[in-house]
């Protein structure tokens, strides 16, 4: 725990217990998504599936990075992760990104992926709104994650034919926004 850190956030008017709960729930969402995306990526096969596999892999690795980046902030604010991973799974801020019944249906897989990313975009927008101008470190972290989640959403959305994303896949290293929290 970083005592003065927590005190400063409390004095700014943020409900720190609520914030920590949100961070834990979103950390759970990131780690569970990393797991479910592993399965989705493995099933992205064939001409259509292989086209999407690389961005699914990038999103998968970046979601794991988000989990890694969130954990220190949770402990700084005197939070903790549940001892039981089953409990951790079940408190996720987003529903499980299950592999669809029709595993060959790339469109169905894409819908799972974009739904998961949209949940994440909503979650980090919420945390940014709660912490803006108050808890600078959590805001910076949440905003960095939000940048990456928005890109993930736009990649998958583009493949669903919802319109151009305006983005291209990563050139080089993953997590261009969150990497500063992983050093």
């Amino acid at each position: 725990m970083a005592k003065v850190t927590r005190e400063m956030v409390e004095r700014s008017g943020v409900n720190v217990d609520q914030l920590v709960e949100l961070l834990v729930k979103n950390a759970a969402a990131e780690l569970t998504t990393y797991y479910y995306y592993t399965i989705l990526r493995c099933n992205l096969i064939g001409l259509d599936g292989e086209t999407i596999k690389e961005i699914a892999e990038t999103a998968r690795i970046e979601d794991r990075n988000h989990f890694e980046a969130l954990v220190p902030r949770i402990y700084e604010l005197d939070g903790r992760l549940p001892r039981d991973m089953k409990e951790f799974h079940d408190i996720s801020a987003c529903p499980p990104a299950y592999l669809p019944e029709e595993t060959q249906d790339v469109n169905a897989l894409l819908k799972v992926l974009v739904k998961a990313e949209r949940c994440a975009v909503r979650g980090y927008t919420h945390i940014c709104n709660l912490t803006a101008g108050k808890d600078h470190r959590t805001y910076d972290l949440s905003l960095s994650i939000l940048h990456e989640e928005i890109e993930h959403e736009s990649w998958f959305s583009e493949f669903l034919g919802e319109g151009p994303s305006g983005h291209f896949l990563r050139r080089g290293a993953t997590s261009p926004f969150v990497s500063k929290f992983l050093r």
């Binding site: 609520q18 914030l19 729930k25 801020a93 499980p96 909503r122 927008t125 919420h126 709104n129």
Partner: protein
């Protein structure tokens, strides 16, 4: 369609095995099956059994997400 008083709605708070209902725009929705309303708690910010019409204005999503849930009735005005 069933009419809910605020007291009846408040009872559907998702705690201790009770159903989790929320109101929006005069309609009462059953969100019990949503993992995001487990135990009547939503994103550490809202609890079931309440009229969330005003709260949704501040939420990072619109009312479309609520339309996925069954409508159980309408909320009686005071």
């Amino acid at each position: 369609m069933r009419k809910f008083t605020k007291e009846e709605l408040a009872h559907c708070d998702g705690k201790d095995g009770r159903q989790a209902y929320v109101a929006y725009g005069g309609k009462v929705y059953n969100v019990s099956d949503s993992l995001l309303w487990k135990g009547g708690d939503h994103q550490a910010s809202h609890t079931a059994g309440q009229d969330l019409t005003d709260a949704l204005e501040e939420a990072p999503h619109n009312s479309e997400l609520l339309e996925e849930f069954p409508v159980m009735g309408i909320l009686q005005e005071d």
